[in-house]
Amino acid sequence: STVICVFEKDAIQIDKDLLQNSARALETLVSVGMRMGVSKKEILQTEL
């Protein structure tokens, strides 16, 4: 079974390690509740 989450464009910044592994076609073993990413809106507000 599989779960897929789709976020709207530019809504989330996925954690770098997850993106890096995926770009090497390497799955990352994770558990429920582990951090996945942060809202981009939040990042923009912090930067401002």
Binding site: T2, V3, S22, E27, S31, V32, G33, R35, M36
Partner: protein
């Protein structure tokens, strides 16, 4: 970098390769003048050894066996293996199955033909075989179109168990070129008039992955339109492709399978595309894509997923040879191996990573997968199934932490109850619980994340029909999700099978999408022939959030584990980390 001269060299070598491979073609073309129609589709059987390159059409016509059964025949040539359909119950099976095979100058030329007696749900038995030297066959002068070969007993080569009739001819290269042009023309010939307007021609150039500028397309179109009638005919297109591909290749990728084409080799490009266009069109009566004839003759139905050997975990994975999938463990920051029986890997590859998927899936496999899953669901809901729990725990002893499980094993009355086991509170700490702008993982799983759909297609999902719209279905207006970020959580058999909410918000809607129950194993996801995410049974929920806008949460069922249950309802306010639902055995 000496670009100019190297290009010249490349051009010379390209030309010489072309000449070498198809020199007969050139000879014949010259003798016929401007490539006028031969009138014959297939070249005469008599060939020289050096002409042995191109596409051969092999037809398995019929056989005479010594008893009645349902028969199938396989042909193996080098790495190509294909099989006929299964005959009626008879001692004189008739297949009339054709297959185009790639013949290379120095490649394999001895075809092995095996005949199997078969029953749909039991293993097929090899009854007889013969080996045919296609080179000898094609170079022999013969008055008949077909030849009869003795079928030998596999256990004693002196014993003859039957006879098989077959024919083989090499497709006329001019005809190959013409039919190739005809086929590629048909891709974009929207009004089906057999000619290409400029718009159609322009789309064709784009379909080959060619990003030539608009003015260049016009230039090419004018060059192709020899008689200046404003449209490009089959002959004109064939001529353009043959000439242009040598100068500046137009065809960079196959519009059927997406594979990058070797731009330097027109012959191989043409052969690749011709074979690719034939698959799945009904032109090919034999089904190909197998690795061996034994595989091709097997009845695959029970090997379609990693769940296929579920009831034999105690003997299966431990004692068999294994393959593995590498996964990066985020917690320990180490690469770990996920073991999987090599037989299952092999069978999944043969099914999901070959074009047989296109054929086989159409002959009842979808229904069979559903029925197997439903049957398994009933079994796993029975009290007897609880006996499987200790075996399962023992098999995955390093990967299931019983200390996390809310109840002791004796609590579970059926295997399915154990399968959807709850965990103790706090067993899965939720990251930054107080900060809703931080999203968390939705399942104990193997995760893949991509910033865009394009990235997901580049690195992971190879199914040619994948799209966000296809994943979410037509009931959900997915404009806001197009080009969105995608995160895939793949659960393995041993995992905790409840899924949780990655974000906080309000559940707007649930949409059930019926579908198949293909495996979701990477082997299938990485196959260009299989579209598991857009064809499998799934439920799409939309969560409206303050920090992420709308989030689509798609729970996808798979072989055996096709039952999806939600614990929340439309309108519920949910917090990240909350239990959202679970997968269990069933259809």
């Amino acid at each position: 970098m000496g670009h100019g001269s190297s290009k010249e060299d490349e051009s010379v070598s390209r030309t010489s390769r072309f000449r070498k491979k198809f020199h007969l073609h050139r000879e014949r073309r010259r003798s016929r003048g401007n490539g006028s129609n031969s009138g014959s589709h297939h070249h005469n059987r008599v060939l020289n050894e050096e002409d042995f390159a191109g596409i051969a059409l092999l037809t398995l016509i019929s056989a005479e066996m010594k008893f009645k059964d349902k028969w199938l025949a396989c042909v193996s040539l080098g790495e190509q293996t294909c099989r006929t359909a299964i005959s009626d119950n008879t001692d004189k099976p008739i297949w009339n199955s054709e297959k185009k095979l790639l013949l290379e100058r120095n490649g394999p030329h001895v075809a092995r033909i095996s005949v199997f007696e078969t029953n749909r749900l039991s293993k097929s038995n090899l009854e007889g075989y013969c080996e045919v030297d296609l080179l000898e066959f094609l170079t022999k002068d013969s008055d008949t179109d077909f030849e009869v070969f003795d079928l030998l007993d596999p256990s004693s080569s002196n014993k003859i168990v039957g006879k098989i009739s077959l024919s083989c001819s090499v497709e006329d290269p001019i005809e190959t070129e013409k039919s190739f042009a005809r086929r590629i023309l048909s891709i974009v010939d929207y009004n089906q008039d057999g000619q290409l307007s400029f718009k159609e021609f322009s789309d064709l150039i784009s379909a080959f992955g060619n990003q030539v500028a608009a003015n260049k397309k016009e230039e090419l179109f004018k060059a192709a339109d020899k008689n200046g009638d404003g449209v490009v005919s089959v002959d004109e297109l064939a001529a353009l492709l043959a000439l242009q591909q040598e100068k500046e290749p137009l065809m960079n990728c196959c519009p059927v399978c997406g594979e990058t084409l070797e731009v330097a080799d027109m012959v191989n490009t043409m052969i690749h595309l011709t074979l690719c266009f034939d698959e799945g069109t009904g032109n090919q009566v034999m089904t190909g894509g197998f690795l061996t004839d034994k595989q091709a003759s097997n009845v695959w139905m029970f090997k379609l997923s990693e769940w296929g050997h579920f009831s034999s975990y105690d003997v299966g994975l431990n004692s068999g040879s294994r393959a593995h999938i590498l996964v990066f463990d985020r917690r320990t920051k180490r690469l770990v191996e996920e073991l999987i029986d090599v037989k299952i890997v092999m069978s999944m590859r043969a099914i999901y990573q070959s074009k047989i998927g296109l054929g086989l899936m159409d002959i009842g496999t979808k229904e069979l997968l559903k029925s197997i899953s439903e049957k398994q669901g009933r079994k796993m809901n029975s009290v007897e199934s609880s006996k499987e729990i200790p075996k399962f725990v023992n098999f995955f002893k390093d990967q299931i932490n019983l200390a996390d499980v809310k109840y002791p094993l004796e609590h579970f009355k059926t295997f399915n109850e154990f399968f959807i086991r709850e965990l103790k509170p706090g067993a899965r700490p939720i990251d930054c619980m107080e900060r809703e702008e931080v999203a968390v993982c939705a399942a104990d799983s193997r995760l893949m994340a991509f910033k865009s759909v394009e990235d997901s297609l580049r690195f992971w999902i190879k199914g040619q029909k994948f799209s966000i719209q296809g994943l979410l279905g037509n009931d959900i207006c997915s404009n806001s999700f197009l080009n969105g970020t995608m995160v895939i959580f793949r659960l393995a058999p041993q995992d905790y099978h409840r899924f949780h909410l990655p974000v906080s918000g309000i559940i707007e809607q649930f949409v059930d999408i019926p579908g198949c129950l293909y495996t979701v194993n990477p082997i299938a996801v990485n196959s260009k022939y299989c579209n598991v995410f857009t064809e499998n049974k799934r439920v799409v929920s939309i969560i409206s959030t303050a920090h992420f806008g709308k989030v689509a949460f798609v729970a996808i069922g798979a072989t055996m584990v096709g039952s999806i249950t939600f614990l929340k309802n439309t309108g519920d306010f949910v917090k990240k980390g909350d239990e959202f639902g679970y997968f269990s055995f069933g259809g």
